[in-house]
């Protein structure tokens, strides 16, 4: 049942020009960054080779690439998640799902999975770009996998937050702005914290993503993203239930 809803969500995404435009622009931006990163590497390569423990192409090209993918996701997820529930509320199509013999959890998970599959496509392309580097050299596969894992976890967290904000309103644009604001806030919340063990560092999404970006797969960070995702999925279910119970 979850997959039926996810498949419908994907179909609706791909039926709208918005998804294609977002996908095309994202890939354009990522590909441009990728090429400029290669250029930069090319420029410094001769000097790097003189260093004793020089950073490889994975560190110089792939890690920054996924760093920019994370920023790009931050901008793109609100646009893609805004219509998930807000539009169904506005068009009163949510009735179809609620009248069907489905648990609220199935509806929410289906929507979440649909968006996550779309985001997986967004992430797959930079992954393929990174793999193309095998043509001219050798990659640090550990670092690459850590980055992939971190990006997928990040996408899941963003998607769950976007889904939740979308359940709060019947206006997709309001949902997009709300999600963007919340994500940006969580991204940079640690900037204000001067001391290194401030609690704000634990809250900041960027901090946790940074370890993956450096190749550090840490259970603490995995738990952070898992809890983040779970929290907003549960909140979404509760929110939809509350709509049914009424104020």
């Amino acid at each position: 049942m979850i997959f039926t809803i996810a498949a419908k969500e994907l179909k609706s995404l791909f039926a709208s020009p918005l998804a294609w435009v977002v996908l095309a622009l994202l890939e354009l931006v990522i590909a441009y960054l990728f090429l400029s990163q290669i250029d930069a590497f090319d420029a410094v390569q001769s000097r790097l080779s003189q260093l004793a423990n020089a950073p490889g192409i994975t560190e110089v090209i792939v890690a920054p690439l996924f760093g920019s993918v994370a920023t790009v996701l931050l901008m793109a997820v609100p646009l893609l998640s805004m219509r998930l529930l807000a539009e169904e509320k506005r068009n009163r199509t949510l009735t179809l799902l609620i009248s069907a013999p489905l648990a609220m959890t199935e509806i929410v998970l289906g929507k979440f999975l649909g968006l996550l599959l779309f985001l997986a496509a967004v992430i797959a392309l930079p992954a393929l770009m990174a793999l193309s580097l095998y043509a001219g050299g050798r990659l640090d596969s550990g670092l690459l996998l850590a980055n992939l894992l971190g990006t997928v976890l990040l996408a899941a967290s963003f998607a769950s937050l976007g889904l939740f904000v979308s359940s709060l309103t019947a206006q997709p644009v309001v949902a997009a702005m709300g999600t963007l604001g919340a994500l940006l806030g969580l991204w940079i919340v640690n900037l204000a914290a001067a001391e290194p063990d401030s609690v704000l560092h634990y809250l900041s999404v960027m901090k946790h993503f940074e370890s993956f970006n450096k190749g550090l797969v840490n259970t603490g960070d995995i738990a952070y993203f898992a809890l983040f995702t779970l929290t907003f999925l549960v909140l979404t279910v509760r929110r939809l239930d509350r709509d049914r119970l009424g104020a």
Binding site: K11, N91, I98, S99, A100, P101, L102, A103, R244, G246
Partner: protein, 315 residues
């Protein structure tokens, strides 16, 4: 006894729902049997839609319970919902899907097995006259066709209970006739609840009627009972050579004569003592030249007024 109990498809008991301080539905109880078509009648804002939302699990009742085929909607929502097909006021249509895709999705969501899907979609399309538009996008269909797609999604999983909220709104007269015929047909094997504020609609398709007013059920009877109830207590008479009004007044049973024009009169009478026969006789005998005779029926508005007034008189 058990035989009879098993044919009850919907049982609502003491449903109550308020939004803030406003009470939308109060103490609504009724039963519906298999094969019956029940009409929910009432002015706008009477609580019809709220009641239907509670019956379909879209809104949790503040108090009371709903049983669908003996399954409690609150205790086992998914099992109960699988037996309901619901067309809300605004048909829940995904405009970016084609009719076929949408009906397949609706069937899947109602947990139909993969191998049953094609047949179920085909049957629903046939019944709702959608065969030739199956490959078109819902967004490009006319309002009438969209309404039919809405009905098709409500019956695609062959539910025991079909609940339709104002199914004929916005349709042209031919489509209205088709939809009414479809509802009659559905009544054969499903139980149907439909809401409307059009009285002739109820008379043409329903077996039973319930009238809601201000969130409460004020009237519940069969269609024959409603017709009886609407029987008026006056006649409009047209006479070519009218006598003096006093002469009409003198007829047995006439309580009051109202002069509409020179040749038209309205005769009020007691329900037990209908003067029609006496009037016709007198007209023939005395050469009044009767050319028009029609019993007036109480309009829907009159029925509402009567019902609500009766309600206030006997709280």
């Amino acid at each position: 006894m058990t035989q009879q109990a098993s044919t009850v498809t919907v049982r609502a008991s003491a449903l109550h729902r308020s939004f803030g301080a406003r009470v939308a539905v109060r103490d609504v109880s009724f039963e519906l049997r298999k094969g019956e078509v029940l009409g929910f009648l009432g002015p706008n804002g009477a609580g019809k839609t709220t009641t239907m939302q509670m019956l379909t699990g879209n809104l949790a009742p503040g108090a009371g319970s709903v049983q669908i085929c003996g399954i409690d909607l609150l205790d086992r929502p998914t099992a109960a919902k699988a037996r309901i097909g619901y067309l809300p006021e605004t048909p829940p249509l995904y405009r970016e899907l084609t009719v076929d895709e949408f009906l397949r999705l609706a069937a899947r969501l109602h947990r139909l097995k993969k191998h049953e899907l094609a047949a179920a979609v085909e049957r629903a399309k046939q019944r709702c006259g959608l065969v030739e538009v199956g490959r078109r996008l819902i967004g490009s269909l006319s309002k009438g066709y969209q309404q039919r797609v809405g009905i098709a999604q409500a019956i695609v999983h062959n539910p025991d209970v079909v609940i339709l909220d104002e199914p004929t709104v916005g349709l042209d007269p031919i489509q209205i006739r088709e939809i009414r015929a479809l509802i009659r047909e559905l009544g054969g094997e499903h139980s149907v609840i439909l809401s409307t504020h059009i009285l002739p609609e109820v008379e043409s398709v329903c077996d039973r009627v319930q009238i809601m007013h201000d969130g409460a059920l004020v009237y519940s009877d069969t269609i024959a009972g409603l017709k009886q109830f609407r029987q008026g207590h006056s006649l409009v008479v047209g006479l070519g050579h009218p006598p003096a009004p006093a002469e009409l007044q003198a007829l047995a049973g006439v309580a009051q004569v109202e002069v509409i024009s020179e040749t038209q009169f309205r005769l009020h009478f007691d329900p037990e003592d209908n003067p029609t026969d006496a009037l016709v006789r007198a007209s023939v005998e005395r050469g009044w030249g009767l050319f028009h005779l029609s019993p007036t029926q109480a309009s829907l508005e009159d029925v509402f007024v009567q019902l609500t007034q009766r309600d206030e008189a006997q709280p």
